[in-house]
Each structure stands twice: as C-alpha cells, then as structure tokens.
C-alpha cells in the first residue's frame, strides 16, 4: 500500500482531495468559530459586569457621602 497510488486516487486526485479538504475545512471552521465566539462573549460579559459594579459602587458611596 504505497502512498503514491493512494494520493493518485486512480487519476482522480484533483477531484477527490479538494472535496475532502473543503469538507474538512468547513467542519473545522464550524467548530472553532463558535468556540472562539463563546470565549469572546464571556470576556465581553465579564468586562460589562465589572463596569457595572464600578458604576454602582461609585453611585452608592456618592449618595451616602453628602
């Protein structure tokens, strides 16, 4: 089972491999993109809640102090 024949795919290499590679790429892309978006969303939400805590802290001590 040498690799040359395997890659040649009986002369149809230019059709079989592009379709397999395209599918592999799309499958990978559709897993990695949501995963990255998930991490990005958590990060975004974290900064939002932190900003809100800060604003609330400033608001509460501003209303107590005068």
């Amino acid at each position: 089972m040498n690799f040359a024949d395997f890659f040649a795919m009986g002369g149809y290499a230019w059709y079989v491999w592009p379709s397999w590679l395209l599918t592999a790429f799309i499958l990978l892309w559709n897993v990695i993109a949501p995963q990255r978006k998930h991490r990005q969303l958590l990060q975004q939400l974290r900064t939002q809640t932190k900003r809100e805590h800060l604003k609330r802290a400033r608001q509460s001590n501003r209303s107590q102090s005068p």
Partner: protein, 224 residues
C-alpha cells in the same frame, strides 16, 4: 383614587405591565384600573414607552411581564375586548386613496353593517369637516385627518377609547371640540385611556381624569 369598582361593569385592569424594546425594559412596572366614566391620562418624557404601552394594551405587542385584563379575562384572543374598544394611533387609519366621506362610509359598514348612509354627513358637520366631505384624504391637513379619525371613533360607538396623542396637529378650536366629545363620551359611561403632551383644558373633563406617570426604567436606580 378610582371610584368604587362595581364588579358587574366591565373595566380595564393593567397589572404591573412591563414592556421591552430590543430586550431592554422601558419603564417601571405599571398598574392601573379604568372603570366607567373615568379618563386615564398617561404622562412621561419622550421615549419612555407611552406608545409602546398603548399598543400593548391593544394587544398588538406581547407584554414582557404583567397582565392586561378586560372583564377579568386576559385580552389575548378576547374578541369581547376588541369589540368593546377602539384605538387611535399615530396613523389615523384613513387610506389616502379614498375621500373623507367614503372612508367613514367604509368604517360605518365595517362596524355596523346595516347602518344607513344618512348619518355620516351630520357627523362630519359635528366636527366641521363637512366642507371636506368629497376631498380625498391625501389633501386634508394633518389636523383635519386627526378630526376625521375622531369621527371614526364616534362611528364605532365603543365603550373604551384608547387614544395615542389625539390632539397632535389640531388647532385650538378643534381641540375644544374634541374635548367636548370626550366629555359626552365620559358622561355616557364611556372610558378613555389617552396619552397627550400638555394639559387638558376642559374643566368638566378634568373632574374625572386620573394621571398615570411612567418612570424610566434604570438598572442603577433599581439597586438603590
């Protein structure tokens, strides 16, 4: 604040209603009761959601939370509610391709199929629009279109009137005319829920007005 609620007379109950616009709550939960012979005057700054709440009361929009009851039944798919109320929104519901008279005639046949055509002209006269009877709605001024919409309300003979800024664009004489119509409606045990920028002038009307303030919903405020 509201007179004794007689359970037999159907009235409108709004119980801590909250409305959202693109997932943001617009105002603090609102509750009020509207019974016979009463006017609810909704006030609040621009953009607080008066129109949105009005459209939710009409059932066009689903409430984020809270309930709206008519005759102690939820208004959703409640045909009884829709047949007892009339709505006047920012769009005054007259197709520009028809003349004033034709438009009223169309609504008259829609509300009460058998009614005779005769009593459209006196109605137009009452709102001094008789001169514009055969003018296409397109050529009417904004105030005249508003008065034509009020004429449609009178045609519908409904108990509950839900009005969104009924006076916008109407001159002072027209305004007095419309407020008199409101007084007649209230005296014949009707109900009005209206939003309006500015004060109502008619003294008789002011007697039975209860004001409803909408407060901007603010997360910070909520925590304090």
């Amino acid at each position: 604040m509201s007179p004794t609620i007689d359970s037999t007379i159907p009235d409108l109950q709004v119980i801590n209603a909250v409305v959202t616009r693109s997932d943001l709550e617009l105002f603090e939960p609102v509750s009020f009761n509207c019974t016979r012979g009463q006017v609810i005057h909704m006030v609040g700054q621009n953009g607080v959601g008066k129109t949105t709440l009005m459209r939710s009361i009409c059932g066009f929009r689903v409430l984020h939370s809270g309930q709206i009851l008519w005759d102690n039944k939820d208004i959703e798919k409640n045909k009884n509610f829709y047949l007892n109320s009339a709505y006047l929104g920012h769009r005054d519901a007259h197709s520009p391709l028809q003349t004033a008279w034709e438009s009223l005639h169309f609504y008259q046949q829609l509300y009460t199929p058998g009614a005779n055509k005769g009593d459209i002209d006196p109605l137009l006269n009452k709102l001094d629009l008789l001169a514009q009877a055969d003018v296409s709605v397109d050529h009417l001024s904004f105030g005249q279109k508003r008065k034509l919409a009020i004429a449609r309300l009178l045609l519908s003979e409904r108990k509950l009137w839900l009005l969104d800024e009924p006076f916008s664009g109407v001159d002072r004489a027209g305004r007095e005319l419309i407020e008199n119509i409101f007084v007649q409606h209230i005296s014949s045990m009707g109900m009005i829920v209206l939003t309006n920028h500015g004060r109502l002038q008619n003294s008789q009307l002011l007697g039975c007005v209860s004001e409803l303030e909408l407060f901007q919903h603010n997360i910070m405020l909520k925590e304090l």
